[in-house]
Amino acid sequence: MNQQPFVRIFTAPATLCAVGFLAAMAAVLQYSLRAYVPGSLDPGGLTLANFADLLKPLYARVFLDTVVVCAMTAVVTLIVGYPLAYALVRVEQPILRSILLVIVVTPLFLGEVVRTYAWIIVLGNNGFINSLLMSLGLIGKPLQLMFTSFGVVVALVHVTLPVMVIMLAAGLSHIDRDYPRAAESLGAGPIRVFLTVTLPLSLPGVVAGTTTAFAWTFSAFATPQLIGGGRVNMISNLVYQLGFSSFNFPFAATLCVAGLALTALVLGLLRLASRPLRKIEVH
């Protein structure tokens, strides 16, 4: 095995990173088990009290809100992303394909903060949507779009869309074109071909995309911070408030651990639910 030394050299940086991450995680875990000493940056003795505090309605509420916002974002992203991914895979003209790809991928390069600011301009009381609706005479006073879950979800969908589309397109492009052709030869029109063949065969991609979108939004910070403006709180925002306004590092760490555990739990459940799909071999 003379490739062994190379394997070691190539994996060394990754191993180094992993060790760093593990150390950081261990530090967070350690903090989560320490008591908070008000007025001090140093934590107190070992305790499980932080985890008991999680059950307080105030904090449980934030967890619930986070899960709801993430679930809504994942579902809406899927609904918006699927047609885009489908078009990306099936469109044959190279120019149209490139345009689609640019539309889908450019948001990735803009960064979350920039995209979120753009949404503030669109969603604000004097923003694009309200101005348009008012000048059309459809509404008398501005709709409240900023500082609502709706606004947060809309902005998060935009943030998550590229990842969703890329994962769905990967799934769709693995479907051999002979499957829809076979269905067509058997008398199925375009809608039936899609519903009975293409859609079921793309479900592994749907599961992958949805889980990724869910996990991706679970740690969202800038978007709920800017568009939620304190009225829509997600876990990251709570961690920020506790850690950097109250300097309650132990409880902030506890929230991180709990958030991580919750994400793992939800992803695990989704994986379990999608187990039958993994038996679909699409070549």
Partner: protein, 369 residues
């Protein structure tokens, strides 16, 4: 070369009328005309890129022609989508729906036709019985062997009583022994049901053994259309001669031509060959003789022969022996000679000097390319 013995539009189950198709700058089909009779098994044979698959896809409706018209059962189908053509198709990789059971796969075409449940179940059972797959109804495709998957694909295509069965290299994924038994079985079923069938393959052996008629294609044209025996015995041009069956190409010189017979010089020897494809050729023009391996006979040195050489390879095939003869002179470098009976192995050992005689009246002769 114009394809002969073509069926006219009315009699044909499937008729391609001066059909052309191009992909960007590449001409895939160049004014192809082909009629396929009812219950006929027609093979489209050719190397990859010859247009055979394009022709099949045009019949299926997966592609539209750039020119000409296609009709099925006398009805022009150019603008009719695949799902309204009533075809049955078998794909190279079978394309069985992986998320459906065997029974669901077979039932698919009946569901799209809104066949009532009871009748559907019966027809699915009948179709699975026809391909000998009873008891497999609830399996998923991935739980089946390659041969069984192919049977499901066949049942799925047959159960809808298609007007025409389209086969896209369906045997290429099977191992050799399974392939030949499936070929026989498919042909039996096709005969029994009287199904009009278009079969695409690049395997000339498959084409020879299965077809009623075969169309040999190259570069978007049909080079020859005829029964396997016709195509094998009298190929229409050098391409067909070298593509279908084993053939040896010998370079010779035209000495004289009279009516149907021509005299050709092969090195020092003169042979009398059929001359119908040499008309108008100048004397002493170069010609190519295509001689099948079984049209040679090996003789001991000293006996009258056309070519002299020595044995360089023996390929024992059980029932017969293939010998490779390296020959001196300008005629050709290596000849493949098929000798019936296994005694040839002992009679003509490696390195032995031999003479080769030609059954010249049955070989094909064309002006040299």
């Amino acid at each position: 070369m114009k394809p002969s013995a073509n069926l006219e539009g009315e009699q044909a189950a499937v008729h391609f009328d001066v059909v052309s198709k191009r992909f960007d700058d590449v001409v895939a089909l160049n004014d192809v005309t082909l009629g396929i009779g009812r219950s006929e098994f027609v093979t489209l044979l050719g190397p990859s890129g010859c247009g055979k698959t394009t022709l099949l896809k045009l019949a299926a409706g997966f592609l539209g022609p750039d020119g000409g018209s296609i009709s099925i059962e006398g009805k022009r189908v150019n603008d009719i989508p695949t799902y309204q053509r009533g075809i049955g198709m078998m794909f190279q990789n079978y394309a069985l729906f992986p998320h459906m059971s065997v029974a669901e796969n077979v039932a698919y075409g009946l569901k799209t036709r809104r066949v009532p449940r009871a009748e559907r179940d019966k027809r699915v059972a009948d179709a699975l019985a026809l391909v000998k797959l009873m008891g497999m109804e609830n399996r998923k495709p991935r739980q089946l062997s390659g041969g069984q998957q192919q049977r499901v694909a066949l049942a799925r295509a047959l159960v809808i009583n298609p007007t025409v069965l389209l086969l896209d290299e369906p045997f290429s994924a099977l191992d050799k022994s399974l392939r030949s038994s499936m070929q026989v079985e498919l042909r039996e079923i096709q005969r029994k049901l009287g199904l009009t069938t278009i079969f695409v393959t690049h395997d000339q052996g498959e084409a020879l053994s299965m077809s009623d008629r075969m169309a040999v294609m190259s570069e978007g044209r049909i080079r020859q259309l005829g029964s396997p025996v016709d195509v094998y015995r009298s190929p229409a041009d050098p391409f067909v001669a070298s593509f279908v069956g084993d053939n040896n190409r010998l370079r010779g010189q035209l000495v004289s031509i009279q009516a149907e017979q021509a005299i050709v010089a092969l090195g020092d020897a003169l042979v009398q060959v059929p001359g119908e494809r040499l008309s108008g050729l100048e004397k002493s023009a170069a010609v190519d003789l295509f001689v099948r391996p079984e049209q040679f006979r090996i003789v001991a040195p000293g006996e009258p022969c056309v070519i002299k050489g020595s044995v360089v390879a023996q390929i024992y095939q059980g029932g017969h022996v293939d010998l490779q003869i390296e020959c001196s002179g300008s005629v050709g470098d290596r000849l493949l000679v098929r000798s019936p009976g296994e005694q040839a192995v002992l009679r003509w050992p490696m390195g032995a000097p031999v003479g080769v005689a030609i059954q010249a009246d049955r070989c094909s002769v064309f002006p040299a390319a």
